[in-house]
């Protein structure tokens, strides 16, 4: 399998496969990658970065570590050089394989996938023929099923092109030589991972922060530009059009093959694991590795000699953008309940307010309506570490979260939290494993969009100094034991070493 590589070619320890992220796009996943690479200076990393088009300027958003070298960028939607040769055509036998590929893409069969990838490599499937050839066209018609399909043909055609072109573009790519391939999502980067796995025989690892297929599904079902028959758009049920189904099915299949060809799958928390299983991942392969945080910035923010019992003034914090998905209104209503019971209360809403001006306006009006103007303060964007020492509880009423950093930081700073039951909030507050749970809760989990429950939870924490102290200590201990960034790096380092040493796979 290794014969396509030059013996003198440089071999890297880890080749990361990145789609629309590090080092060109900043964000949670990018920071995670950045810290991972920085945390393992003894390993050499390279990467293939998939970006949309070369029209958008690709600028480094991070100061990349010295051990991150030779990254290659692939543009998914750039026009391609498509020379048509009159002599290149796809043989009947190979066409049959392509047909099988379309029908059986989500069936795990390593030999078959190897064969397909090799055919793309040997130019047995020239791009011009795949896009403009008669045989490929006949296959497209066959899949469309003209006898029964009533969907717009022109949209079907362009969907076919837009979905397949990137895949056709990925398949012939030669990846840098590496001991381990690590993709940080399924999708197109995942496909590159599968290609690496079958062409080199080296193991493929997958880490999913958000579930790619689920995110695409949400995006696609909301996408206006995808054609919808008029009568369907006005239908009450939210059944997706065939074109949307087409896109989704393709991402599902890409996700499935990536799961199948990965040696291990890592994700942040249990809920994600369940979603991955639903999308076809083998549960035995999935391991939960939560995110870690750097303790130095947060540890000891809450003084150890803090007087919990004698406290009469209380401060409640909300960290997050003032947008609907954070459900600030539920938080405000909960604050009203708390304010009725506690006289000396201060509430800080820490986060930018300009992202959704209208929503912010509504929140301000709600504050007036509830008569809590004196209690609530919108601070705008601030440094959370400046506020954490004086806070007694942190609240998170989000409708959707993955593994919120806010809770991890609060835990670390020793501030108990009240959070809605989304993402991994319950794991972060109540513990995930047996030994984690034994530490005791570091906060209270409430139902989503439940002002009364949230208000009562805040009151419980504020009015029970002993509980508050316990929670504070449990939080610190939890982060120290299970969410330390250095531990995260150690975990991945162990994984990398294990797979780097591994013999070539079939």
């Amino acid at each position: 399998m290794n014969n396509e590589y030059d013996k003198n070619e440089k071999e890297y320890d880890v080749c990361l496969l990145l789609e629309g992220t590090y080092p060109f796009v900043s964000g949670g996943v990018s920071s995670w990658i950045h810290n991972l690479i920085k945390g393992m200076p003894e390993l050499t990393f390279t990467a293939i970065c998939i970006l949309a088009t070369s029209k958008e300027k690709a600028e480094y958003k991070y100061e990349v570590p010295d051990n991150f070298v030779d990254l290659k960028v692939i543009y998914l939607h750039d026009p391609i050089d498509n020379k048509k040769s009159p002599f290149s055509s796809i043989s009947k036998k190979n066409m049959q394989k392509l047909r099988k590929f379309h029908y059986n893409l989500d069936k795990y069969d390593i030999g078959f996938m190897t064969e397909i990838v090799d055919l793309f490599r040997d130019d047995k499937y020239p791009l011009s023929e795949l896009l403009h050839g008669k045989k490929a066209w006949d296959l497209l018609i066959e899949i469309y099923k003209p006898d029964v399909n009533k969907e717009s043909f022109i949209d079907y055609f362009w969907t076919y092109r837009f979905t397949h072109l990137p895949i056709f573009k990925m398949l012939p790519i030669t990846l840098p030589k590496a001991k381990v391939y690590h993709t940080i999502s399924t999708g197109y980067a995942g496909l590159l991972g599968v290609i690496a796995r079958v062409t080199t025989g080296r193991p493929l690892l997958l880490t999913e922060h958000g579930i790619y297929v689920k995110e695409r599904k949400i995006e696609i079902s909301q996408a206006e530009w995808i054609y919808h028959k008029k009568d369907e758009r006005f239908r009450v049920d939210s059944k997706l059009g065939a074109i949307q189904t087409f896109w989704i099915r393709m991402f599902e299949q890409l996700g499935k093959i990536c799961y199948d060809y990965s040696s291990e799958i890592y994700t942040l928390y249990e809920g994600n694991k369940q979603l991955e299983i639903l999308e076809g991942a083998d549960p035995a392969k999935i391991k939960i590795i939560p995110n870690g945080i750097s303790l130095d910035n947060f540890l000891g923010l809450k003084p150890e000699d803090h007087d919990y019992k004698g406290q009469t003034e209380f401060a409640v914090g909300f960290v997050g953008r003032v947008v609907p998905i954070k459900d600030v209104k539920t938080f405000l209503r909960a604050c009203k309940i708390v304010a009725l019971k506690i006289e000396k209360l201060k509430v800080y809403i820490m986060g930018p307010t300009e992202e959704d001006e209208e929503y912010y306006e509504e929140c301000v009006n709600l504050v007036k309506l509830l008569h809590i103007e004196k209690v609530i303060e919108f601070t705008g964007k601030v440094k959370v570490t400046d506020y954490l020492p004086k806070l007694d509880v942190i609240v998170l009423t989000s409708i959707s979260e993955a593994q919120p950093l806010v809770i991890m930081e609060a835990n670390c700073a020793g501030v108990p939290a009240v959070a809605s039951d989304v993402g991994s909030c319950r794991e972060l507050l109540e513990g995930r494993t047996v030994s984690d749970k034994a530490l005791g809760p570091s906060g209270i989990v409430t139902k989503v969009a439940d002002p009364i429950g949230t208000g009562e939870a805040i009151l419980t924490i504020l009015q029970k100094p002993i509980l508050r102290k316990k929670m504070s200590l449990a939080g610190i201990e939890r982060v120290k034991t299970f969410y330390k960034e250095s531990d995260l790096n150690k975990t991945y380092l162990k994984i990398y070493h294990k797979y780097m040493k591994m013999e070539d796979l079939e």
């Binding site: 026009p79 003209p146 043909f153 022109i154």
Partner: protein, 456 residues
Amino acid sequence: MAGIGFELRRMLGKDSYLSEMSAYLYAAMVSSGPWLMSVLCLSILGLYSYSGFSRLDQEIFRTTIVYVYAFMLVYVGYIQLVVTRYLADKFYLGEERLTLTAFFSSSILVLIVGSIIGIGGLWTFELTITYKIIAVVLFLIVAMIWLAMIFLSAVKDFRSIVQAFAIGTSISVGVAFLLYPLMGLDGYLLGYTLGQAVIYFWLLARLLAEFPARRVWDLGMLSYFLKYWELALIGMLFNLAIWIDKILFWFAPDSRMVVPYLRTHDMYEGPIFFAYLTIVPTLAIFLVKIETKFYEHYHDYFAKIISKKDLSSILEEKKGMVIILKESLREILIVQGSLTLLCLFMASDFIAIVGLSPIQKPLLQIALIGSLMQVMLSVAVIILFYFDLRKEVLLITLIFLFSNAGLTLLSMKLGFTFYGYGYCYSCFISLMCAYYFVSKSVTDLEYITFAGQPII
């Protein structure tokens, strides 16, 4: 042929016998153009020979006219299809204002290159210098007429075209007769040229009236020559293919030199030209049929695709288009076939009327059959142009050119009894190829429509 369909449909829409007749007449005029008019002119001039008009003078004149038209058609061919395409695109985008600019640009191109070719081609002939100058001017005028026709047919001003030709041709004949006694052969050609000049200026006036004058250079149009180089090549080579057998016959062993180096082959040329006249009605019918009914289906087919219909209803529309296509082709075959058949039976009478030799009868007959196939070939080529299959048309053009040249040389070797067979078989071979491509492209129409789309 870009814009003609709309005007024809409008005329047919009036639904009266008269308007239908005028539609057919216009169509004939536009499709056959100046070449037909020149054959008509030659016949009139030939039939009513001026007393004292020497046989040599008559032959020089006739050969000159044939040369001028032959080389003009081949020469202007390179510009014709490209400009037609450019105008169609611009009109589609609603940029009619560019028309005159494009006309100026192409006129300059035609005049400069045409002068060089005209002077270079005619200079060696042993004719008076005055005659040669007039001949070069005639060459340029005829080329400009052809060019103006392209622009006027794009703006659907067929009435002007017919008027211009009717008046111009009359003047050509009249002034030629008038000037011959005064200036001899030079005057005869000058008279003819004056008439043609009238046609040109008439058309030019219409163009100027129609469009505001703007810049002289239209770079956009010039870039079309690079973009659609196949069209330039097809335009030139297809006309060359039509003429190559005649040109080769000028150099046949039994051809004649009228004056150095003006050659002619009376035996071959006459019957071929007369046979060619029989395709006029077919061209007219074809234009009306194809450009109206077929175009409607063609248009609906694409409308269905764009309006996001499913494949089965698109294919349903295609069925209608195929039926119309088959009907039209059948109709052409019936009309042209009967006409050709009639001419075949009446060949002897026809020969007597136009003054050909009875030994040319078999040649006339084979030329009639060849013309039938040539017109069918043109129909097939225009259908292929509808589907924008330029590469295929180029291939057919090359087949036509090489087979006509090759088979004509062969027939010349085999002797007089085989004259015309080369042309006829060449048309047959090219027609079969064209028919193959038409039937294939109609079958694979949606594949051609979609799969050929460039990426993004």
